[in-house]
């Protein structure tokens, strides 16, 4: 059985009633057991809804998504399609130079040690040889890529929001690198920390390369 207030109980519950109406309803609730009971039940429905657990899909959807967006699962080889205009083509030549710098650094790193290797291929023994205190090749690559980023900012090819996001991300990665280095002072033999440091340094390179590519790809 319903009365004139039943339809308003959700508004009351959600605090979407004007004060005079709310006071009138509260007076009614004090005398009407049915409405009070319904209100209690509605509260429980809301509470139950808020407590619902989010469940992942029964099967892993990532392999299909990765295939559809053109990335290979477990690798950092994005396949993104760009429509390149003539000015972009000129800019792309700059990107090639920048990318070459990164590639050279990666190739040298592979010869010298595991810094440039993917984690899956990193052996514990090799990781122990990582020179985490300083790496001039790494530093040079970083300087080169940061210079490309700065050029993109100055020329306006990267907007200020993008630059801010990238710089913020770089600051976070730098913090992570500093933390890993501090931790390695306490535990220099840790293969986990060495690998973590190498991966974090790789992420910085990747972020900068991505930003530099964006800077050169935009008109």
């Amino acid at each position: 059985m319903k009365d004139q207030w039943t339809e308003r109980l959700s508004d009351y519950l959600d605090e979407e009633m004007a004060t005079p109406e709310r006071e009138a309803l509260e007076a009614h609730l004090a005398a009407c057991v049915e409405c009070s009971t319904t209100l209690l039940e509605l509260r429980r429905v809301v509470g139950r809804a808020r407590a619902l657990d989010d469940q992942p899909p029964a099967t892993d959807l990532w392999p299909t998504i990765a295939r559809r967006i053109g990335v290979e699962t477990g690798r950092r080889r994005p396949v993104r399609r760009f429509t390149v205009s003539v000015p972009q083509l000129l800019a792309a030549s700059i990107a090639v130079i920048i990318a070459s710098g990164g590639t050279v650094w990666l190739a040298m790193s592979r010869r010298a040690g595991p810094l440039g290797q993917q984690p899956a291929a990193t052996s514990t023994a090799a990781v122990a040889r990582v020179s985490w205190t300083s790496d001039t090749r790494y530093d040079a690559a970083i300087v080169q890529l940061q210079s490309a980023l700065e050029d993109g900012r100055k020329s306006g090819r990267l907007d200020s929001t993008t630059v801010r996001v990238v710089e913020h991300s770089l600051a976070i990665i730098d913090t992570a690198i500093a933390q890993a280095r501090r931790a390695l002072v306490l535990d220099p033999g840790s293969s986990y920390l060495n690998r973590h440091l190498a991966e974090t340094m790789q992420r910085k390179i990747q972020l900068l390369r991505g930003a530099a590519a964006l800077a050169t790809a935009r008109t």
């Binding site: 959700s10 992942p56 899909p57 990335v71 950092r76």
Partner: protein, 190 residues
């Protein structure tokens, strides 16, 4: 209290929060890093899939979830960081779900559901029966009432926002929500 990533060095004072780590992944993914995007997928897939399951149906939730993450990948460059990535993704998910709903031609008349239709949802089972799962009860709601209920009571959107999303007036959103709650209250264990 700051939420920190596992394994962050305790010795130092400046740890990385989960949100900051996610911001890095968003930036990396926007530059084309598939592994970073996979990490974002792993972090958010449960929420997105649950939204799709509740808003449309279990049957096509996987398919819709894939579409949502593919759209997110394509739209990442437009993410400006003004809201949290999760908030942006959730809103994008709602849009994809609603577009899918429209594409299958099920939107017409969804908010004209008479109350007696809501009342036909099976009531609380007899004591000898197993209690109907609350999620199943939600899925049994008429489309319009279910969408408003999920968006308001589960996802936390306001009536004004829901009205814009669904192309209805806020009053209709309030009415549908109340009807949904009234139908669902009979499925609660006493």
């Amino acid at each position: 209290m700051r939420d920190t990533t596992p394994g962050a060095a305790q010795a130092s004072g400046d740890t990385i929060t989960t949100a900051e780590a996610e911001a890095v992944d968003v930036a990396l993914a926007a530059s084309g890093d598939g592994r970073a995007f996979e990490r974002l997928y792993r972090s958010h897939v449960a929420r997105v899939h649950s939204l799709a399951r509740r808003m449309i149906s279990e049957d096509i939730a996987d398919d819709v979830t894939q579409d949502i993450f593919i759209r997110a990948w394509q739209k990442l460059a437009s993410f400006r960081g003004e809201a949290a990535f999760g908030t942006w993704l959730h809103r994008l998910a709602v849009n994809v779900i609603l577009a899918r709903r429209t594409s299958v031609g099920t939107e017409r008349g969804r908010f004209a559901t008479p109350e007696h239709t809501l009342e036909t949802i099976p009531g609380r089972p007899a004591e000898t029966e197993l209690s109907m799962d609350f999620e199943d009860a939600v899925s049994s709601l008429p489309d319009g009432a279910r969408e408003v209920f999920v968006l308001h009571d589960v996802a936390g959107y306001k009536h004004q926002e829901i009205a814009v999303m669904l192309g209805i007036v806020p009053g209709t959103s309030k009415s549908q929500l109340h009807h949904a709650r009234m139908a669902l209250r009979r499925h609660l264990e006493r």
